[in-house]
């Protein structure tokens, strides 16, 4: 019974973890600008995330090492500096974008400008990290994030053409604005497979004391949780196609998202959208701050555990404190959160090889995984993600300049 509960909780967490500022914004932009044409990018991102989470979870529960620990140990500190610096810089950027998402949700609810909300959001997030336990943070925010199911309800109520939705799963060439199309495709994939997700997931497996009996649960949680998350991201895209497309609305600012669900759900649509944006971005905010602290603590060999008292692991607690308040500064200064989201998602996509390629080596290392190493199917899947990550590295930055405007 407890294992079924674990699976259910894991799936809920997967949904909450998947849908955040980046995935909501990029899916809405894609639907408004290109109809159903970019659903395939959500599919690719979801599949890649399932593969990466299952493997980083398996690595953690078999070797009792987080992904960061294993990379540092296997490749040495000289190499580890690269994923550490890249991971921290990107975590701060994405953290800013998520704080921006919460701040915009609060602006929509109250009319008070988003800049004023940045520091209070950081403060509440920090308090939750300071006072809360890992389980409370992970499961509590994820359960609240289930309000995002309202987006799927809105999509169903708008009666999309399912044949065209299905056709969107196959990549097609755009008829206009090619650079923008590919930029959004890269951003969607970047939003789906942010490295913080699998650093956080592998650290979570250690925090939750997963052992070999969790191999099956890990597989189910990684697959089903993120599949549902991917379906919800696709629902955002579908609703944007049907609501913004016919009106010629292109999503340039978070404010426009307040209108996304109202044609389907009326006043509740506005309430649900604000709640979805606010709760899911807040959930991502605390997870990314924690993930950045995990990464730093695991890099320098500090004691780390979210469940311990902050005074017991002072440097770990200081790390998430600095991260969350530092990331709030750009939003407090009025930086355009949607532009920041787009830039950070594209850079995230470009950064993937520094973690994906080492993971490919680790998943074949007998020392870490014993008989649970990747088989040919696992290597084929992770190899495909590695190739994708290298392609993203090459194209992400040029596309940012050509199509990110």
């Amino acid at each position: 019974m407890s294992k079924i509960l674990e699976i259910a909780l894991g799936m809920v967490t997967g949904i909450g973890g998947f849908l955040e500022a980046g995935s909501i914004a990029t899916a809405a932009q894609a639907g408004a600008d290109f109809g159903y044409q970019l659903i395939w990018a959500i599919g690719v991102g979801t599949l890649a995330l399932i593969i990466l989470l299952e493997m980083s979870g398996r690595l953690a529960l078999v070797s009792h090492r987080t992904l960061a620990d294993a990379i540092r140990e296997r490749f040495g500190v000289g190499y580890f500096i690269v994923p550490l610096v890249v991971g921290l810089v990107l975590s701060l950027l994405v953290l800013s974008a998520e704080i921006g998402g919460v701040a915009f949700a609060l602006q929509m609810a109250t009319g008070v400008s988003f800049q004023w909300w940045a520091l209070p959001v950081a403060l509440v997030g920090w308090l939750l990290l300071w006072k809360g336990t890992f389980g409370a943070i992970e499961k509590g925010t994820a359960f609240l994030g289930l309000v995002a199911v309202s987006i799927a309800v809105a999509a169903l109520r708008l009666h999309p053409d399912w044949t065209r939705v299905g056709a969107g799963l196959l990549p097609t060439q755009p008829t206009h604005e090619r650079a923008r199309y590919w930029f959004l495709a890269v951003s969607i994939v970047g939003a789906s497979i942010s490295p913080y997700l699998y650093y956080f997931y592998s650290a979570g497996a250690i925090e939750d004391h997963w052992d070999l009996s969790y191999l099956g649960i890990n597989r189910i949680v990684a697959a089903l949780g993120n599949l549902f998350g991917g379906v919800l991201a696709a629902a955002v895209l579908v609703v944007a196609v049907l609501v913004f497309g016919p009106r010629g609305i292109h999503v340039e600012r978070f404010e426009q998202l307040g209108l996304l669900l109202t044609p389907a759900l009326g006043r509740w649509g506005f309430v649900f959208l604000v709640a979805t944006l606010g709760i899911n971005c807040f959930s991502a905010t605390v997870e990314i701050a924690l993930s950045a602290a995990y990464l730093l603590a695991q890099s320098f060999g500090w004691e780390w555990a979210e469940d311990a008292r902050p005074s017991e692991h002072a440097r770990f607690s200081l790390a998430y404190t600095v991260a969350i308040f530092l990331a709030a500064v750009p939003i407090a200064l009025g930086v355009d959160a949607l532009k920041l989201t787009n830039v950070s998602m594209a850079l995230t996509a470009a950064s993937l090889p520094v973690t994906v390629l080492p993971l490919l080596v680790l998943m074949n290392d007998r020392y870490y995984l014993h008989k649970h190493r990747n088989g040919w199917a696992g290597n084929l899947a992770l190899g495909a993600v590695a190739v994708l990550s290298v392609v993203l590295l090459v194209v992400a930055i040029p596309l940012q300049f050509l199509g990110g405007g």
């Binding site: 602006q107 109250t110 010629g248 292109h250 404010e255 307040g258 209108l259 109202t262 009326g266 990110g404």
Partner: protein, 159 residues
């Protein structure tokens, strides 16, 4: 007497190897390709893009007004969204370069952008005053401007 340094096989006159020169040419070409985008920043894609953005924000303002009238959103949200729409359209109008357009479309384009800018500004002010009647009147003018912008965009070739 200074002698010219002897050139190594595979080197250029300045002493760089051919592969170094090839890399330098590649970097130069990449910079030439991306420098305009870096210098001008995103969103400077000419008159068509400006018209698209103005049309998009006009449609956003119209929808925001409609949803408020239907009581699906709050006056605070609508007021904020209209203020942002007004700022965005004003910014686009300032950078609008109608000379990029075919001659016959320049005057109607300037007219449509100006009409949209004024209508959305009036919508924003009406929302601030919570004046529903004035908001509806300005929204009707925004609707006309939106239709004019759509017609102009339909007349322009796709990029």
């Amino acid at each position: 007497v200074e002698h010219e340094p002897q050139m190594r096989p595979g080197s250029t006159q300045r002493g760089r190897t051919r592969s170094e020169a090839r890399v330098a040419r590649g970097v130069g070409a990449a910079l030439a390709l991306f420098a305009p985008a870096m210098l001008t920043g995103c969103g400077s894609g000419g008159a068509r893009q400006t018209l698209q953005k103005v049309a998009s924000w006009t449609a956003t303002a119209r929808m925001a007004a409609d949803e408020l009238e239907a009581r699906h959103t709050t006056p605070r949200y609508t007021g904020k969204t209209l203020a942002v729409a007004s700022d965005q359209v004003a910014s686009q109008a300032r950078s609008f370069a109608p000379n990029d357009l075919p001659g016959a479309l320049r005057a109607p384009a300037v007219g449509a952008v100006t009409a949209a800018r004024q209508a959305i500004r009036d919508m924003s002010r009406a929302a601030e005053r919570r004046d529903g009647a004035a908001l509806a009147r300005a929204a009707a003018r925004a609707d006309s401007a939106d239709r004019a912008l759509d017609a102009l965009l339909a007349a322009l070739p796709e990029r």
